[in-house]
């Protein structure tokens, strides 16, 4: 009796038909973990920016989004975004990959060099970051249960369709989304689907829920800038997974994208610092952290389209423009508490539209922008893609937020907001620094705040 009859045939089949590349798979595994790291990084960044009485709620909104979105994405979100298109490039088939059960075997990978189940998880973590970003606009005043409902509905109704439009490329007999395939929108890692989408959603929510009590009058200083800087550093680290991971391979493209990502963060930081120094007189740590994030936001769609010098320009411009954009909320009177609009929406627009100007065919995406002789062709596609995602995310998020406000109520009581959302919603205090442990300052830090100047 030959030993060959004992060899498991499933294993033999996988070896024969699978195109999995161990380098590509290893990198995408690591990149996915890096993208997940951006969630606690964002939680720290946002947490340090709010007052100490609300830091836990701010971090909870990220952690809650992480938990809810991971599950929803696997159950149905991935299928909606990357399933075979069922309607004019607008949405994928929600049943095709529901639960990801049919992606467990290597047979499902076709000629992909990475396991599709890993690709699905990688994409899901993008959704997590996008959703968590939105929470920055509603600091100190949103009920946690309402937030969880919002982010869950938003994942299925806003993010999944947008991801389908922007990220789902057609291949073989799989039909993908319209912006990627019919419009030719260039968006390597999500300047539209993540940055513009989160910023527009955040703006809608900020308008529906209304400003914090005391917005524009009372000072609301960041309570811990060391957390903000730590968070920004972790975001930058994770962003390499976000951008270079989107190359879906351990290859030249990933290396080029890694380079442009590094440069844009650095240039963004400098741009913001210089603008601050000139306009306000001081280069601040918050400016350094915010600027590097702004640069990274702008390079997110453009990381595969620019030369290294082009990415320096992109990052620098984003740093300067976003530093100016964060003042808009006072000018127009909307309380986008942590500047999701000023940094992510505006930065995403800079990056998305900037591709139309600065793209060079020498870069992986192979298109030329206006400054490289490509005319306004690509610019037009970028404007259309960015504009459509902005409008869709804004309107739909506004509707979802409005319905939640009217049914279960989104906002906490005025008195509770003044006392402090952590204590009211989570029955917790972040810092127990009082010498007589357990006691809590009744003044809630009022004495160390100041008056909001001109």
């Amino acid at each position: 009796m030959s030993l060959l009859s004992e060899v498991p045939t499933v294993h033999a089949l996988s070896v024969a038909t699978s195109q999995l590349d161990s380098g590509d798979t290893a990198w995408l595994l690591a990149a996915s973990a890096l993208v997940l790291l951006m969630a606690p990084g964002l939680a720290l960044f946002y947490g340090g920016l709010v007052r100490s009485k609300s830091v836990l709620n701010m971090m909870m909104m990220t952690f809650g989004a992480l938990a809810a979105i991971c599950i929803l994405w696997v159950l149905v979100g991935y299928s909606l975004a990357f399933g075979d298109d069922v309607q004019s490039g607008l949405i994928g088939d929600p049943t095709q990959y529901a639960g990801l059960g049919n992606l467990m075997s290597a047979d499902a990978n076709g000629d992909s060099t990475v396991p599709l189940i890993l690709f699905a998880v990688f994409q899901g973590l993008f959704c997590v970051i996008t959703g968590a970003l939105v929470s920055g606009a509603i600091a100190d005043r949103a009920r946690f249960g309402a937030w969880m409902v919002f982010v869950s509905v938003w994942t299925l109704v806003v993010y999944a369709p947008v991801a389908h439009w922007v990220f789902d490329f057609s291949s073989g007999d799989h039909t993908g989304g319209w912006l990627a395939n019919r419009v030719g929108l260039v968006d390597f890692a999500g300047g539209t689907a993540v940055e513009i989408c989160s910023g527009a959603s955040a703006l809608a929510l900020a308008l529906v829920i209304g400003p914090r009590i005391g917005f524009g009058k009372e000072p609301m200083r960041p309570h811990n800038l060391t957390l903000v800087m730590l968070g920004a550093g972790l975001l930058w680290f994770g962003w390499f997974g976000f951008n270079a991971g989107s190359a879906l391979g351990a290859n030249q493209t990933a290396a080029v994208v890694f380079t442009t990502t590094l440069l844009a963060g650095a240039a963004g930081s400098l741009g913001w610092l210089i603008l601050e120094r000139v306009r306000y007189g001081h280069a601040t740590s918050l400016g350094a952290a915010s600027g590097l994030v702004a640069g990274l936001v702008a390079i997110t769609p453009s990381c595969g389209s620019l030369s290294p010098v082009g990415s320096i320009v992109m990052g620098f411009v984003a740093g300067v423009v976003c530093a100016l954009a964060v003042g808009l909320k006072y000018r127009f009177g909307y309380d986008d508490s942590l500047d999701v609009v000023g940094v992510h929406l505006v930065g995403g627009l800079v990056g998305t539209f900037g591709i139309g100007l600065l793209a060079t065919a020498a870069a992986p995406t192979g298109v030329d922008g206006l400054f490289y002789g490509g005319g306004v062709d690509q610019l037009g596609r970028q404007l259309l893609g960015g504009g459509v995602v902005l409008a869709y995310a804004f309107v739909l998020s506004g509707i979802i937020g409005f319905i939640i406000q009217k049914t279960m109520g989104f906002r906490i009581d005025e008195e509770h907001e003044v006392t402090g959302i952590d204590q009211i919603l989570h029955a917790e205090t972040a810092y127990d620094l009082h010498a007589t442990s357990g006691a809590r300052s009744e003044t809630s830090g009022v004495l160390t705040q100041g008056g909001l100047g001109a």
Binding site: P219, R221, P222, E276, R279, Y280, G281, H282, T284, L286, G287, S290, A323, V326, G327, Y330, D339, G342, L447, T448, Q449, G450, G451, L452, G453, A454
Partner: protein
């Protein structure tokens, strides 16, 4: 007995404490407080938004002393806490009806 209360600049605290101990003061209560007088606060900037921080950190010292020592203690504080610049603080004396040592129950002079 008198209660001597002093609000002084934080960095003068060690000098004041040493001088008071040399004089013979055996105990005091010290707290970190905020306040302002002629010394105004400062301005901070966060993402382009300016905040006027009106209150300035100070140290408050409270000592219960015999009637006869009160003026001496005031003099010591004024001498050692002075920098000559705005914000040096203030010292004041208020009457104390009774003071009791918790460990023994001794009252008034015996409690100091």
């Amino acid at each position: 007995m008198k209660l001597v209360t002093a609000v002084i600049k934080p960095h003068k605290w060690e000098d004041v404490r040493e001088a008071l101990e040399t004089f013979g003061v055996t105990g005091m209560t010290v707290s970190e407080v905020s306040g302002y007088g002629r010394q105004k606060g400062h301005t901070e900037v966060y993402r382009g938004a300016e905040y006027d921080i009106a209150l300035v950190p100070k140290i408050r010292i409270e000592i219960v002393v015999d009637d006869g020592d009160a003026e001496d203690v005031v003099g010591i504080v004024v001498k050692t806490a002075q920098t000559g610049r705005i914000g040096d603080g203030k010292v004041w004396i208020s009457p104390v009806e009774t003071v009791v040592r918790v460990r023994t129950g001794d009252r008034d002079a015996a409690a100091l």
